[in-house]
């Protein structure tokens, strides 16, 4: 079967004409749209994933990676590397307090150091071309290479800055992401696994923030039982972080994957949503007005659109996926569901599906079916 044809028939509709000029690739900046496979290594895992998705026509918010080369250049700031090395060497790995304190110092050094001029200019220029330019809200996220950091289940804390507005802010957050390479957990992980200190690298993703009408998570199997014929979706109004973090109870949909039909819906009362506050340049938690609280956060058509998105990602990635998605307020209905992140599902995928018993074919098979009490079909 031609995989490409399968992808093309299921991929969510591509984002409408990109009105912004994408920055051509450079040593320090690679945009998701223009990335080639050779660029992936220096984009880090998250950004490389977004680039691959874009290449296959899966809708993602546009953005770029600040490459590992930028990190390397920054760490070459005069004296920085030496002082970081010294602090690392001085850590007593069995002393949690010491580790935490030294980690904080390292991070402070990285953030305080001035970014190399070329890197700074590249970031500001790329940011300026993204969306509305000077005040385009973006998400700034760490995009580490997998070997350097604890695995995916540790991710999702301290590495994401939402609602970053303005070039100055972007630059600051990029440095904060670089610094997170040296949070206490990461340091002790590398120490235990004998990964040498300064050789590790961090890329950072800068991506247009979606003003989400609704957002959440989709898994291309049922996490309750590993059933791969299902896509389950958790959704809520507003941005998706509260769904991802588990701090709210979302609406829940179960979709049959092959027929793309909604099998069940559980709609809950939703009293809060996380929304962008443009004026305050951050996200705020807002009370939902009573009329909307018991409405489904997704229409049936949107549920199917999210399911299609997740399905195309699974097919493309070749394994069950855990997808973060959003319904973008600024895109037209029917073409407004975008993927924010997609990573392999780790629990059930490791277990291979098992055939339950041996079967006969032909008339012998028919015989055993007739002989088994046919209680009921569901």
């Amino acid at each position: 079967m031609n995989v490409a044809n399968t992808i093309l028939s299921f991929a969510a509709p591509a984002e409408p004409a990109r009105i912004m000029n994408t920055t051509p690739n450079s040593r320090f900046i690679v945009s998701f749209e223009a990335a080639t496979p050779e660029d992936h290594a220096r984009m880090g895992g998250k950004c490389a994933g977004l680039a691959r998705m874009t290449a296959h026509g899966v809708s993602v918010p546009s953005g770029f990676a600040v490459t590992t080369d930028a990190f390397t250049a920054h760490m070459k700031s005069p004296g920085l590397a030496a002082r970081v090395d010294a602090l690392l060497a001085s850590i007593n790995v069995d002393d949690v307090v010491d580790q935490e304190a030294k980690s904080a110092q390292i991070r402070a050094l990285i953030v305080a150091a001035e970014m190399p001029h070329e890197v700074d200019v590249s970031i500001r220029s790329a940011y300026g071309r993204l969306g509305t330019g000077a005040d385009q809200p973006v998400a700034v996220r760490s995009s580490a290479t997998a070997e350097d950091m604890p695995d995916a289940s540790f991710a999702g804390q301290q590495d994401t800055y939402l609602w970053v507005v303005g070039a100055d802010d972007v630059v600051t957050r990029v440095k904060a992401c670089w610094a997170s390479l040296f949070n206490a957990r990461a340091i002790s992980y590398r120490a235990r696994n004998h990964i040498e200190g300064i050789a590790v690298e961090m890329a950072v993703g800068v991506q247009k923030m979606v003003d989400a009408v609704a957002a959440g998570v989709a898994m291309t199997l049922n996490p309750i039982n590993g059933d791969r014929t299902k896509i389950v979706i958790d959704s809520a109004f507003g941005l998706g972080e509260p769904v991802v973090s588990g701090e709210i109870t979302p609406d829940h949909f179960v979709v049959e994957k092959v027929l793309l039909e909604i099998l069940s819906r559980r709609i809950v009362e939703k009293d809060h949503e996380l929304v962008p506050d443009r004026a305050a340049r951050r996200t705020i938690d807002r009370v939902i007005e009573s009329a909307r609280r018991t409405l489904p956060s997704l229409s049936d058509a949107e549920v199917i659109a999210v399911a299609r998105l997740a399905k195309s990602l699974e097919s493309f990635m070749g394994c069950p996926q855990d997808v973060e998605w959003a319904v973008d307020r600024d895109l037209p209905p029917g073409a407004n569901v975008v993927a924010l992140q997609s990573r392999p599902e780790t629990v059930w995928s490791r277990k291979a599906p098992v055939a339950r018993r041996s079967y006969a074919l032909g008339v012998d098979g028919v015989l055993s079916t007739l002989m088994a009490p046919l209680q009921h079909k569901k």
Partner: protein
């Protein structure tokens, strides 16, 4: 899941007012006998309102008798289905009730080797045997077409005297009637020659897929197996071809108004009209041997005798073509969808299961064309010819004064018709007037009254205590009788706002209900309504363009109605048990064909 309670006993179900004495319309072996109460009440009976949604005229019981008896013979005497014999049946308060007959456990093992040999032969030689079946059925239809009922002449033809024949005209008349009944009997023997095995092979695939994917929707399995070029849809396809031809010749407005004769006459006069008329004529044989009923009733209307029906459908198709709509059945898309669904589920299987999947799917696809197509050749085409011949006979006896309406013969059962024929023959021979004209009209009037009274009361969905386990494949697949459906019926209208049935065809819609109990009411349906009925028939397909969804009382995944609804992309919920007695015309419904739920909104 255990069964909760029991259904009423037929012995406690009185005749509705005005129908007292209905038993005299039916032969003794179709009734619940008083002397056998204990035995009969020890068995579970379910009402088959899917095939027989209206009370039986006496003659029409021939269809249930021949059909169900022949179903049974193949289980019991031909293929020896190990755990199941046939399905027993009775008539009560005008409706038929069925009871599957299980094989005694100690006898099952002995049947297995014979089943393997006999059923095995059919599975291994299916296509060859099926080709032969087509020849046999067409020959049978030709034999029925060749039957001639003629009124008795004043005198025996002179030629017969000169040729020394020594027989009168009544000899052939009576023989022709007996032959008609025998050819009908043959028709139903052929009907089931493959059907039980086809269903069993489908069930084998079905059960296997359910074990691999416990929550897979039934429809998904059906879609993997269903064919694309199905003879059952051919009549509708022919109508579409004629509609498109009329539009391409720019002659469709000639069909838009007037009676059939007027429209055809106008066609004849128009340039290019002869081409259309030739196509119209050619399509009729055999594709207009098609009924909006189901073929089991003497009053089913067949297109070939009611040309206004197909012409009406052609009119609406032509209007849609004029409107720029593509009315063709999207066969390429259906085939692609079938292949997509199949390959996607196949890709989710454990590696060891793939060969099994391929093998069982392969067999299911071999047998399925018969499961879908036989319906056209038997219920439509063969029955069309049979009923036509019976109406010819009824007309002759009507002309001889036996009854008041030309089609009143069907108020006699088939043995009484023999008696009436002999009465007619006898009077002719003896030179007196037949007794019939002084006997039958009153009897028929009384029977009409009883049947009208029986029609007013919807039947109980079942009788007596349901079994723990149902093993007969037909009961499950075709009638949709499962433990769950039984429990639904038992709980009755506990929640009268929500009905649950089989999710037979996906989609979710809202709309106004139109409750109809027979094909004669099809004209009442308005655009955008939701059809609620005991059962739909494949021949109602042209109407499906008007409605938003269908809801039925009875029917399983493999009922013809479910197949057609999926084909036409119409949401459907079947097997609700009580839709037609719970829902009223005009109520707002929400129908979800993906979950099997029907909600009454207002």
């Amino acid at each position: 899941m255990t069964i909760l309670a029991k259904f009423p006993s037929p012995y406690d179900l009185e005749a509705p007012a005005g129908a007292e004495g209905w038993q005299e319309m039916y032969p003794y072996y179709l009734l619940f006998q008083d002397r056998l109460r204990e035995q009969e009440d020890g068995r579970f009976w379910f009402c088959d309102s899917q095939h027989w949604p209206s009370p039986f005229k006496p003659f029409d019981t021939v269809t249930v008798e021949f059909a169900v008896k022949c179903l049974g013979q193949y289980n019991t005497r031909h293929y020896l289905i190990p755990p199941a014999n046939g399905v027993d049946y009775r008539i009560h308060n005008g409706y038929c009730y069925m009871s599957p007959v299980a094989v005694a456990p100690e006898d099952i093992a002995a049947r297995v080797p014979q089943f393997l040999e006999r059923a095995g032969h059919y599975f291994q030689n299916w296509d060859k045997l099926l080709d032969n079946w087509h020849k046999k059925v067409r020959a049978n239809i030709a034999d029925m077409e060749a039957l001639r009922f003629e009124k008795l002449p004043e005198v025996v033809p002179l030629d017969w005297i000169k040729d020394g024949v020594g027989l009168d005209n009544t000899y052939a008349l009576m023989e022709t009637y007996d032959r008609a009944i025998q050819l009908l009997y043959k028709t139903w023997q052929y009907h089931f020659e493959f059907l039980n095995l086809g269903y069993a092979a489908y069930l084998d695939f079905f059960g296997f897929v359910k074990e691999q994917f416990p929550t897979i929707p039934d429809q998904a399995i059906a879609k993997m197996v269903q064919g694309v070029d199905v003879d059952l849809f051919r009549p509708d396809d022919e109508l579409k071809k004629l509609a498109k031809l009329a539009v391409s010749l720019n002659l469709d407005k000639l069909l838009a108004t007037g009676s059939v004769d007027e429209a055809l006459a106008a066609m004849g006069k128009a340039p290019g009209g002869a081409q259309w008329l030739a196509a119209w004529k050619e399509a009729q044989d055999p594709w207009f041997n098609f009924t909006s009923g189901n073929g089991f009733y003497s009053d089913d209307k067949y297109w070939v005798e009611h040309l206004d029906i197909p012409l009406g459908y052609i009119r609406s198709y032509a209007a849609r073509v004029r409107n720029g709509e593509d009315i063709d059945r999207p066969t390429a898309r259906i085939a692609a969808e079938r292949d997509r669904i199949t390959s996607e589920y196949r890709a989710l299987l454990a590696p060891e299961a793939v060969d099994v999947f391929d093998g069982k799917l392969g067999l299911a696809r071999v047998v399925f064309p018969y499961v879908e197509n036989h319906n056209f050749y038997i219920e439509h085409w063969s029955m069309s010819v049979f009923w036509r011949k019976m109406r010819d006979l009824s007309a002759i006896l009507h002309a001889a004064g036996f009854w008041n309406d030309p089609n009143d013969m069907f108020y006699l059962d088939r043995q009484e018709v023999r008696d009436a024929l002999f009465d007619y023959a006898n009077a002719w021979a003896v030179g007196v007037n037949p007794i019939g004209p002084h006997y039958w009209p009153a009897k028929i009037a009384a029977r009409k009254t009883m049947l009208a009274a029986l029609s007013k009361q919807p039947p109980q969905p079942a009788l007596n205590t349901p079994p723990e386990v149902i093993t007969e494949p037909f009961t499950i697949m075709l009638w949709g009788i499962t433990t769950e459906s039984i429990n639904r019926w038992l709980s009755g209208t506990a929640n009268s706002k929500m009905l649950v049935g089989m999710a037979a065809s996906p989609g979710k819609v809202e709309g106004r209900a139109r409750v109809i109990r027979s094909a004669s009411e099809l004209g009442l349906i308005e655009e955008g309504e939701i059809l609620v009925t005991p059962v739909t028939a494949p021949s109602w397909a042209p109407v499906f363009g008007k409605i938003k969804a269908t809801v039925t009382d009875i029917g399983g995944m493999m009922s013809h109605a479910a197949i057609v609804c999926r084909e036409y992309g119409l949401p459907a919920v079947t097997g609700t048990g009580s839709a037609t007695s719970t829902i009223r015309t005009g109520q707002m419904l929400r129908v979800d064909g993906s979950t099997g739920e029907v909600e009454i909104l207002l």
